[in-house]
Symmetry: C2
DNA sequence: CTTAATTTGTCCCAAGTAGGGACATATTAA
DNA sequence: TTAATATGTCCCTACTTGGGACAAATTAAG
């Protein structure tokens, strides 16, 4: 039961029905390929004739193509299989991080076309855009003969306004109100979409062919230098009025807890970020604002995990402590949003076997009901590159999205 | 950009376009009435002919009716105004609370037909249903000649499964897994809808003719014996996988804080519920589980507020303390969901002038950005009966809802 | 008082959509 | 070789919006 907004509605035009069914057909081909026209008609609950018309339209636009004749189990004419045409269109995914920027090109199915490359992030925006557009143009030039670039999806570790394409605040980059979208679009002559990394990771999961969560509801939690969270409800990313929706990293565990980078105290992030875990290992008071001693400055969570695996009790204790707080925070997410599935990513996931039971115990402890306490948790390892896949989805996904209607 | 769920989609049928435009027209008549066919065509951006067809269909179904000829400012033929027909259909709203149950009948616009009546809540479900259906049948009998009852909306202080119509857990009523919907439907022979009170209050606000929040995003916070929260995103109530979405009352302020009725510690509810405010006034340790002394058992928050107004510094301090925690919890809601508007209801709202600045200060303190810290807050007083209006909306709203499509 | 301008609401036909069935084609089992 | 069955195409019907013509109603201007 959705309310029709009397100020922002879309009436049904002559083409609307077709657009709806066309997008459904495209989505079904994407998720079920290889699939025949007759299969499609069965899946859609319509006649083969109607499905054929949609298929022909999609083929004319080169969004799908006819592949080989399939083997149809029993007797009867064999089906001609349909596939998403991932040859003519591709998108470029960019993941800007504090120290390095990563770059990739994928087809509309999210399959990489060229491997991931990376270069040091220049915090000077103009310089970064220059470097980025140079590399983007090079990719475009290489593919000019075969396919056309649909645009560039950029993921940033910070608050973004997806609509205007501005980076509102990215602490680790030192950016504040930076117009990234228009500048990059001008430099590359390509459509550009900007998004916060947590949300992009969540988007990558909704648009993944398999799974995606319970009826389009899921949350992605990324534990790294900070804690980024992306929330998807009814198949749509939740951005909020002031673009801060999903910032569970700054919902408190204890308001009197350790100071957080955001200025407040006791935020979830201050308990579970990589820095918090490392601080715990070095036995520092969490309220201590002094920098970590130089000799430990290059010590990472990965190092800590390997020490824990090698029997360092203090390292294991630090991880366990983080695990407990991680679970407590997940309980807040479950009680607030109750997604049917939570994805967790970040360096600490490499130690998931060590921390899972503590995380689940803490989640069960504070979740309001027992079933909610058993909410499905899926880990996403670092080498699945969820941020880059999300960046690609920023441009690939709209081709399959439901039309705005009513 | 919404994902099409490849398992649960709705293809566009021949009637789909009409259904979409019909519901838009109905919504526009509801929000803009009185309105002429020509006005409607202008609002919808379509031809007068198309609007006329929709209007005729709606009139045949007696959902709208033609009223008096209007005064059309300039020259030209005068318009015939259209109105939602609130004479032929009505709904019954029921608010079951711990001690008393409230009953009301409204038309489809939410205007009360018969005044609010109430009776003591019998915690024995069968007895309550018997009493309730007796009173419902009496209302139906009184209106048999004029109009037909569309159904009964019931609001319960506890967790509900709106789909199955079961009350999962209502602590104050001592109910657990009670099949209220089917039992009441059988007893009254009317369609019945069940919902949690926080969500129903939120629904009442989305469906209010004026306002409703920023693009269908809002949160309703009800502070009473417990803290109920209803979340609306994209014009739709968020219920979650296990029906606990929106339980911000059990998101912690400090995990080591006072014990909450849910069994956990430091929940927001344990800081801001009426009981918490009263405990503070009586100078009790918040972890104290002993009942409040008998001589104070009938002392309410209203009494506390009047003492505060009469210069009782301790009462004022208790309110101020609650106000601060209220603001801190609102900050969690803003950081998590970022609705453009928050509605607050409950007995403590009678003291809003005393607590507003403390609430806003705490909200601004922890909200992630300054604009988010200034998120619009609207109070809903007890005598607006948001729960009953929400109960009515449970049945009235679907008549205006957007059709499920794509 | 008459006329022109303007607004409203209706009607009709064109364009475009899904619904339904007939049909040729292709393939296998009997 | 034949019957059965599955696929994909085609055509007509039903129903929708798009667009314009038109009568009725009303006011402003002359």
């Amino acid at each position: 039961m959705r309310k029709i907004d009397p100020k922002r509605f879309q009436i049904a035009k002559r083409r609307t029905s077709r657009e709806i069914n066309r997008q459904i057909a495209l989505t079904l081909i994407r998720t079920h390929q290889p699939v025949s026209r007759a299969d499609l008609a069965r899946l859609m609950g319509t006649r083969r004739g109607a499905a054929s018309v949609l298929v022909n339209e999609l083929m004319e636009e080169a969004l799908i193509f006819e592949g080989a004749i399939g083997e149809g189990g029993g007797r009867g004419r064999k089906p001609t299989f349909l596939y998403i045409d991932s040859r003519e269109r591709y998108v470029i995914a960019v993941d800007i991080r504090a120290t390095r920027t990563y770059l990739m090109a994928t087809d509309l199915m999210g399959k990489p076309l060229v491997g991931i490359t990376n270069f040091p992030t220049n915090r000077d925006v103009d310089a970064l855009i220059a470097e980025l557009s140079k590399r983007i143009k090079s990719i475009v030039a290489d593919h000019q003969s075969n396919a056309t670039c649909q645009g560039v999806g950029v993921v940033v570790p910070g608050m973004t306004d997806h609509g205007s394409g501005r980076v509102l605040h990215a602490p680790t980059l030192g950016w504040r109100d930076v117009d990234l979208k228009d500048a990059l679009a001008a430099a590359t002559s390509l459509p550009v979409q900007i998004e916060n990394s947590g949300r992009a990771c969540a988007l990558a999961q909704v648009w993944a062919t398999r799974g995606g969560g319970h009826e389009g509801n899921l949350v992605f939690v990324s534990v790294s230098d900070g804690v980024g969270v992306g929330v998807v409800i009814n198949g749509e990313i939740v951005r909020g009025r002031y673009n801060i929706a999903g910032e569970f990293g700054h919902v408190p565990i204890s308001v009197d807890g350790p100071r957080c980078s955001c200025g407040a105290t006791g935020c979830w992030e201050a308990y579970v970020s990589n820095l918090a875990t490392l601080s715990r290992y070095f036995g520092r008071n969490q309220n201590d604002s002094k920098p970590i001693p130089a000799e430990n400055a290059t010590f990472t969570v990965e190092d800590l995990i390997s020490r824990a695996r090698n029997g360092d009790a203090k390292a294991l204790a630090a991880l366990q402590s983080t695990a407990r707080y991680l679970g407590l925070g997940l309980a807040s997410i479950v009680n607030a949003v109750d997604p049917g599935r939570i994805y967790i990513g970040g360096e600490i996931i490499a130690a998931w076997d060590l921390i899972e039971s503590a995380v689940r115990a803490a989640l069960a402890e504070r979740a309001l009901t027992a079933p909610a306490g058993r909410t499905e948790i899926r880990t996403v390892s670092v080498d699945e590159h969820p941020r880059l896949r999300g960046a690609a989805a920023l441009l690939a996904a709209p081709a399959f999205a439901a039309p705005m209607v009513a």
